[in-house]
Amino acid sequence: MRDAVPRAAMTPLRGFLRGAAMLLWLATAASAYEIEVERSFGPEEGREVSVISTTDLEAIDSVLEGFVAARPGLRLRYVQASSVEVFRAIRDEAVPFDLVMSSAMDLQMKLANDGLAASVSPQLGGLPDWARWRDQLFGVALEPVVTLASRQGLGDLPVPRTRRDLIAMLRENPERFDGRVASYDPRSSGVGYFLISQDSQQSEGFWRLAEVMGRLNARLFCCSGEMIDELRAGRVTIAYNVVASYASRYAPDDPDLVRLVLEDYTLAIVRSALVPANAPNPSDATDLLSWLLAPSSQARIAENAGVALIPGTGAAPSPHLRPIRLDAGLLVYDDRLRRAGLLSEWSAAMIQP
């Protein structure tokens, strides 16, 4: 399930000419989008509403089951894929899905901005204005991005509270953390790229962290789930930028897992959903969107993420949390030149000779 795109893009990229070459490659290589999991809810026969999403099925299946149970005769087909694949399926291949749900805010924003989203009017149920764009893109969950640590792996070191602490800890203990730091690979993961673009915008300290991680031969992953698996297996001590909803699935029953909510800032991304313009069944998709925004579903989602998107459906955001707004500003992250520049800078920091 690790897609081939990032591997090919591993070579350091610099300048727009190379960036353009990579895009050309992207365009030709994209033959079919790759999926991770597929599952159907409800009866075999009857009308179908299809969802493509980056969300782990385990994190959302109870909400979907509730939806199908309340609507006899409706089948829900859930396809889980990485954010880049989701984007590719909709933008490049125009695969007819009824609902597209993704945590890659910039890609979702681009789909909507470029006219690939239909205008729908679900019941918003108190969704704040900053978590939606026009009547096309709707936030369904707020997902804090946290850092996970293995208590055992840290040993007697104090738990870092800020990025500065984290950098200092990693610097001072190279032998302990060499090859044991994990993070997203921004080249393969849309969320990963989006997170480093946000990080680099939030603080200059991020590049120092990237350099330190590069020096420690940090391991790069496509998804939060894998990082957590590695962490639990004891092969990784620190996992930087993990989407909290994954972590919360393991944290309660794994006493070894420490969730670091860094106090300088903790990003929170908005998982958002849209109904594509070519959706075969937009009415049921709108219905599903209303279901996802309904208080009962939101309460379940908020419990999973640890924070509520719609005020009153779960825990209020902590003061360190910086939710990212759904607005046109997100379009800049998908710019190929900006992406190439950022990735080359990241590569320079991470991959050291």
Binding site: F16, R18, N113, G115, R325, D327, A328, L330, L331, D335
Partner: protein, 463 residues
Amino acid sequence: MTPAGAALPAGISLRRRLVWQFLVLSLLLVVALFFTVRFAAERASRASQDAVLGAAVISVGDGIRAVDDGLELDLPHATFSMLGAMGQERIFYSLAIGSRLVTGYEGLPPPPEVPGDLSPVFWSADYRASRLRLAAITRRVLLDNRMAEIVVVLGQTRYGQAAIARDTARSAVWIGLGFLLLAVPVALFAARAVIRPVDRLAAAVTRRGPQDLRPVRDPTPRELVPLVGALNGFIARLRGALQLAETFIFEAAHRIRTPLSLVRNEAEMALAETSDEATRQRLRRMVRAIGESSRSANQILDHAMVLYRSDQFAAAPFDLAALTASVLRAVAPLAEMRDIEIAAQGLDRPCPLHGDERMIEVALRNILDNALKYSASEGRITLRLYQADGMAHLSVQDAGRGLAKGDSDLTGRFRRGSNVGDVVGSGLGLTIVREVAAAHGGSFDLRPGPEKGACATLSLALP
């Protein structure tokens, strides 16, 4: 003016027409206001959003940097955020060197002219089924030792602008309609104010008496001056025609009277000279007929005189008691001839009045004439002059045949009672009296006497 005027077909109402015109014009103004405000709001919001778009495209251009191996672009997040904020606009951009796209969207509409590097070029075009407002600017960078011109194009939808213009225009319409609502009573009031002089003029003309043929001199709105002028012209012609007729009648009566008296003298002389009874009988009838005719001619002359004098009314003080006494003296021979006794009361005190003495005299003579005419021989006539309720009343009570039932108004021209029988008369006498009374603002009343006969009362206002 007369009751017959109300029966005219009503036609259009000026007031209603004024109000309607006012309302229709106001409505047109509201519509015009909608489009004007919409246009103005669109222009204003376009100008301000163009300024933001221009600043945005410049800031994108400023983010271009040439580095060792190509270009670097720092696409500013805040700029895009701001650009999309109003009305959550869609945003498209491109960076191109010549026809080669460096980054951004393909196939954006090209600028109408080559943009400069200081101030952006603006234009509107369609892209991906949306109307876009675009701005472009050129940046020159040194790329591989050659100066490259990069054209930065930034476009945004203008949903917000359209919504603002629509909302503003809509509020303008509501305000306009509010004013329209306020304007309705104002329009009604204005229409009434415009019509009021017309109403006043109509009322003034309506108030006039039937004899009043003076030109209309009431204050007239300038616009109605031609109408009133025409009306006055008409009145003048009417008066002319009437005067002509009166003059003709006067002239005719006058010319008939003189020969008549001549003929009468001759007939009386012939009566005195002849002894043949048949001829005498015939001559007597002749004298009587001639007397009747000359009496009529006299009355016509009196009537014409009264009309003329009431037209040229010139009042002067006089004593009614003295005047009555002198008229009594004048008719005394006639009364003696028929052995009628005239008892006068209240003449011993002067009764000063203000009026046309000559007219009053004619009226008195006619009243007494009438009384004598309808009294039997050796009858009695009672004349009383008294004052009551600020009026001087002169009543003449005879013991003649009185009035027949239903003869309530004998003062009309040439109207005579139904029981006049053999008594000669023209039917003008009482008309003359009434007209004299009217000219003096008084009244004349003829009613049956307490037992028999009739009682004629002339009432004139005391000064």
